[in-house]
Amino acid sequence: MIDFQYTRADTIADAIRQISANTEAKFIAGGTNLIDLMKEDVERPARLIDISRLPLKSVEETANRGLRIGALVPNSDLAYHPLIAQRYPMLASAILAGASAQLRNMASTGGNLLQRTRCAYFYDTTSPCNKREPGSGCSAIAGLNRGHAILGTSEACIATHPSDMCVALVALDATVHVVGPTGARAIAFADFHRLPENTPQRDTNLERNEIITAIELPARGFAANCSYLKIRDRLSYAFALVSVAAALELEGDTIKAARLALGGVAHKPWRDPSAEAELQGQTTNPSTFTRAANVLLRDARGFEHNAFKIDLARSAIVRTLTQAASGIPQSQSSKKIA
């Protein structure tokens, strides 16, 4: 690992002051991704500002019956929090589908949003990569791209965002609260992560001198009819080839409201309101679900090794919506797909 300086931030204002004073500084919280990338020489911060002691570790109910999750709440604490387990089980399930117990104990809520792609070319400093070295080219487009994106890709980058938690958060209409030198602002979750376009080096719309302080969930948690299904090469502790977050509000077998998001297929958690509109007012059956899947995947484009993801995603969407409709969510322990 390279030399770097280490400081601690005492307050949020202090953290913003410190990050603004040094353009080569980075925040560190859980460190599970950043330390790894520093060992790989992909990240080379001159200074790490330790924000892990800031008072951002509580989960509180909001005035409009939602929840405000502090940015430093560890992933495991969030997944097992009684209010998350009861009211937002799809979020709990998505968190538990990701990483390992040890990593979930370390990783923070805010850091989960900011983790970087696991594209092997991004990690390999001897390969061209526009995300790591803008303008150097994309090695994945004509390379080993089995795990890569099928939606929202660009000529510059076909990397995926690796998070499971974020797939549930975008489906639940979460809001990201951030603070910067000019004050606080709120970012709708769907607008937080970016598509690669010509600037794949920018994963999110967070400015470099801003800090995530909280994630807010609205009241509606779709607890009765939801599921998170993750398809991967191993049954545990592997990144998604395709994952699906599906949530329904039902009246009998009529869909009153629907939420549908995909992981493992794009540079950001993929949600498209037109696919949800396809479900609204319809009855819960496989043909309805297939129509919604076709809308969600209408612009999907495969590369040499990942075209299978399009059919896999279609099947997974239908299966996850079926699980949600039946009120039997996918278990993250028993790996049998219901």
């Binding site: 280490y6 330390i35 080379r44 117990a101 322990s333 028993s334």
Partner: protein
Amino acid sequence: MTRASTAQQSNSVIPAPAKITVSLTINGVATQLSIAPWATLLDVLRDQIDLTGTKKGCDHGQCGACTVLVDGRRINSCLTLAVMKDGAHVTTIEGLATDGALHPLQQAFIDHDAFQCGYCTSGQICSAAGLIAEGKAKSPDEIRELMSGNICRCGAYPNIVQAIQQAMGQS
């Protein structure tokens, strides 16, 4: 080339960071250490304190051999900067036995022959101690899922699950 020259340039501008004094309670013993910012908890345990029971496997958080308990929670010590844990209580495999008696998990791993080469074992046992403290795993499926951060390349998994079940029955 660009990266190398940038690095050289930064090295000439930025002085080598000073070591930082950190207090850690390791296996019940309070210790003050002078630590470089980039030193992982794993390297500090092994190289500065000579507690070599904690193993370095992949050094990237993928294998679990480096698992220790920090303030009672299992973590990957290879992805933890020691300076960030100032004031913490760390328990390693060397700290599990009490008064010369093996920890129930250590005894259970022997009883069930839950290892072959043994390299992953200290991580497996510390992880299992964390698992039992968390109280979320009851069935073998749940044990397997919540132990998936610990790889055993000898493939002793069925015996590891049995050993953990035995220790859970005693806790």
